[in-house]
């Protein structure tokens, strides 16, 4: 490598703290289950604490649903389906969903702050990505409710009935929107379980659903851990399971419903290849690498966690990447200038720390920018590993944290082979200034979403979902409706 001159990023001029205000709303002390249009105490009698991962303080107590609670939720959903929702015209259904979209827009700032408090993600992301996208999802699917015949001509689409939905902790509100909006538009009723570490925005959404005047029981929202989820999966009156989470749990769910008439869609893990060719716009590619792996602290199933850089530009890309990492602010998620917030939970932090150790022990070279971390809470500096080979565990397994494994390649053939050399197939990224190369790459990638000269872009109109062990079924777009319909 030629000697290059290093840039000094220290400065006397630093950003003062700019925390988002939390005074415009008040969290409740306790959140009960939302069943049949009302907030009800759990039959389990149990509540668990939900905390702010940035300071480990308890935010609220949240009800834990047991089998009897799930049974009431499913019964409420079934009754709402039979007596009201299935009888309503698509037009009127659509108007309810539009209302949800509009109220989320009105209460956007509150949603963003609560999402950040409960999940640890930077307010910049919850404000600019999670919440507006969630509203957009409802807006988009609202419009489909009276147009299903055009989406599936000659197939006479019909709702499935009661949809059981289980969502993860990385995008709590957004995943709820991805699940609920198409289900309702297609005419189903819903029982949805939020994650045990991030249940709060789902209950804010329950308030919105109340405010929107949705008929009781059309949407039921519960919380709890894996066991609660299993009660939904195994309930005989649930027609459909939609799951987003790890591949391991996805497989358990599929075992449980094998042999039943339940339909399912699975949105599971990933280990996306992000591929930088030498003719790419390198500064923008570096920005794409950052967005790919450090967005949401790397808690993203489609994160670009395997970076492949063409050897001729490896040095300069790594140098630019390190420089860019030096201007990332790690810390208080509520601060408007924070780029990387808190790791979602202690457990996840331990997982990430374990993989960082593995990476070091396997001989890869680690780089982290020097930045102070708060003393309380769960934190991880943005981390990159160079000198990684394809067989390293950090290049093969999903870490779900801000940790990037970088390899080099020489030819197109080689990188295609390496990129596809994984049991996962959720997403991929390609960076080149040459259009014909992009289309070659997109046609060769065994992945459900390929981003070219961008990364981690989402839109309600665009289908999202995986190949291989990253799952099946698509969310978003006209494709996302299919998961919630049956055809003659």
């Amino acid at each position: 490598m030629k000697k290059t001159h290093k840039i000094d990023f220290s400065s006397d001029w630093n950003l003062a703290p700019a925390p988002e205000s939390t005074t415009h709303f008040k969290l409740k002390d306790t959140y009960d289950l939302f069943i049949n249009g009302k907030f009800v105490a759990p039959k389990s009698g149990k509540y668990f604490d939900t905390i702010n991962p940035a300071n480990e303080k308890v935010l609220a107590k949240v009800a834990e649903a047991n089998e009897a609670d799930i049974d009431s939720a499913v019964k409420a959903a079934r009754k709402a389906y039979d007596t009201v929702w299935s009888k309503l015209s698509g037009k009127e259904r659509g108007k309810y969903i539009y209302r949800i979209a509009r109220i989320i827009q009105e209460r956007a700032r509150e949603f963003a702050v609560v999402e950040t408090l409960n999940g640890g993600k930077a307010i910049r992301e919850s404000r600019d990505v999670d919440v507006p996208l969630a509203a957009a999802h409802f807006f988009y699917y609202a419009g489909w409710a009276d147009k299903l015949e055009y989406a599936f001509p000659n197939r006479k689409p019909k709702a499935l009935g009661v949809a059981g939905q289980i969502i993860p902790w990385n995008f709590p509100l957004l995943m709820a929107a991805w699940k609920i909006a198409p289900a309702l538009a297609a005419g189903n009723t819903v029982v949805i379980k939020s994650s045990e570490t991030t249940p709060l925005t789902a209950y804010l959404l329950a308030e919105v659903i109340q405010e929107a005047g949705l008929p009781a029981g059309v949407v039921n929202i519960v919380s709890g851990a894996g066991l609660t989820g299993s009660f939904i999966v195994n309930h005989p009156d649930v027609d459909k399971i939609a799951f987003t989470g790890s591949t391991a749990v996805g497989k358990i769910i599929m075992k449980a419903i094998a042999g039943t008439p339940k339909k399912s869609t699975m949105e599971l893990g990933g280990k996306a290849a992000n591929i930088i060719f030498e003719d790419a716009a390198l500064d923008q590619a570096v920005e794409g690498i950052v967005n790919g792996i450090f967005f949401n602290q790397g808690h993203v199933c489609c994160a670009g966690s395997r970076l492949y850089v063409q050897e001729s530009v490896f040095d300069v890309v790594v140098q630019k990447l390190k420089d860019r990492m030096n201007s990332l602010n790690v810390g208080d998620p509520l601060d408007k200038n924070t780029d990387i917030g808190a790791i979602n939970s202690k457990k996840q932090l331990e997982t990430i720390a374990k993989y960082i150790e593995i990476g070091k022990n396997e001989g890869a070279e680690m780089y982290q920018p020097s930045c102070d971390l708060p003393s309380k809470g769960f934190w991880c500096r943005p981390t990159i590993f160079t000198k990684v080979s394809q067989s390293n565990r950090i290049a093969q397994e999903e870490i779900f944290g801000p940790v990037l494994a970088i390899q080099t390649f020489r030819t197109v053939d080689e990188v295609i082979e390496k990129a596809n050399n994984t049991p996962y197939g959720l997403s991929a990224g390609v960076w080149t200034d040459k259009g014909s190369k992009i289309f070659n790459m997109t046609s060769q990638m065994r992945a459900g979403v390929v981003w070219a000269n961008t990364f981690n872009k989402f839109d309600p109109a665009s289908p999202f979902g995986g190949y291989k062990e990253s799952g099946f079924g698509r969310e978003g777009g006209v494709h996302g409706l299919e998961a919630y319909l049956k055809f003659e």
């Binding site: 840039i7 400065s11 630093n14 390198l282 923008q284 590619a285 201007s327 408007k336 961008t454």
Partner: protein
């Protein structure tokens, strides 16, 4: 010296640049960092008048303002420089003696650059001989568009030679006439390798003048040049920057792209005429807590 192929400058992806800009403009610069930034911005302004109607009186007033920005507020810095046509240089140098404010002169048949090498040289010499500290030249955009990159390179090198070591040369690309970000990058590379001390976006006579995306592309070019040579080139966005908020976003972009060393008027300038008063308004607001009116701040 190794021949550099300027037709092969790095590619720029416009959408990616916009994404990066969106992250910069989402930053919140508040309280003490805002105050510090505002003072820094004032000290980086090239207070400018470049009009056909300029008179000696106007230039005198401008010079006074440059080191008396608002005497009601103690401790304010001066602007970095005043920027005038070459025929006012002598006057400006006289007016600004002992103030530390530099005198910059536009030259080389500003703003179009449509003239002969002789005249451009004479224009430059006039500015230099009259005592200008800095020369702001324009590149020949016509030649640039027709692909005659060597002509553009040689012309810059010639003007730099005329400036000598002690007069710093700012090279105006006139990005509003250049068209694409790829071309902005290419022109930046030509200017730096030809000997520019500063690269500058615009004359202020063409719209769009300076924008955040164009400036980011130029800052990244400066960074790549520094990686290779260790030489720090300055940056001057000019025209279209009239609010404090925007000025602070520029400064933050410099900090995040090039680091703290570039945050002095040695390496960063704003070419602006109305920015100073908006910054003053904001400083007064920060100090008093009350929103201000233009009526209380002198125009130039």
């Amino acid at each position: 010296m190794k021949q550099i192929d300027f037709s092969n400058s790095p590619r720029i992806d416009q959408v990616g640049i916009e994404d990066r800009i969106a992250r910069i403009t989402a930053r919140s610069i508040k309280k003490e960092s805002k105050m510090q930034g505002l003072l820094m911005a004032l000290n980086m302004i090239d207070l400018t008048t470049l009009e056909g109607a300029d008179t000696e009186e106007k230039v005198k007033q401008l010079c006074f303002k440059a080191h008396h920005l608002h005497d009601d507020i103690p401790g304010l810095p001066t602007t970095a420089a005043v920027c005038v046509y070459p025929n006012f240089v002598k006057l400006a140098v006289n007016e600004l003696k002992g103030t530390g404010v530099k005198v910059a002169a536009v030259a080389t048949a500003f703003p179009s650059g449509q003239s002969s090498a002789e005249i451009k040289l004479l224009d430059t010499k006039m500015a230099v001989d009259n005592g200008a500290d800095e020369v702001d030249m324009v590149i020949s955009r016509g030649k640039f568009h027709s692909g005659d990159y060597n002509f553009v390179f040689d012309e810059i090198a010639m003007i730099k030679e005329a400036c000598g070591k002690n007069v710093r040369l700012k090279v105006i690309l006139e990005t509003g006439e250049i068209g694409t970000l790829d071309k902005v990058r290419q022109a930046s590379d030509i200017a730096m390798y030809a000997g520019a001390d500063f690269i500058k976006t615009s004359t202020g006579k063409i719209k769009p003048a300076a924008t955040l995306p164009v400036t980011l592309v130029m800052l990244e070019a400066i960074r790549d040049y520094y990686y290779k040579t260790g030489i720090m080139i300055g940056m001057k966005p000019a025209g279209g920057i009239s609010t404090s908020k925007l000025a602070l976003q520029y400064l933050l972009m410099v900090k995040e792209t090039l680091g703290g060393k570039w945050l002095t008027n040695e390496y960063f300038r704003f070419g602006a005429s109305s920015l100073a008063n908006d910054v003053l308004l904001q400083i007064a607001k920060q100090q008093s807590g009350i929103y201000q009116s233009n009526d209380y701040f002198s125009k130039v």
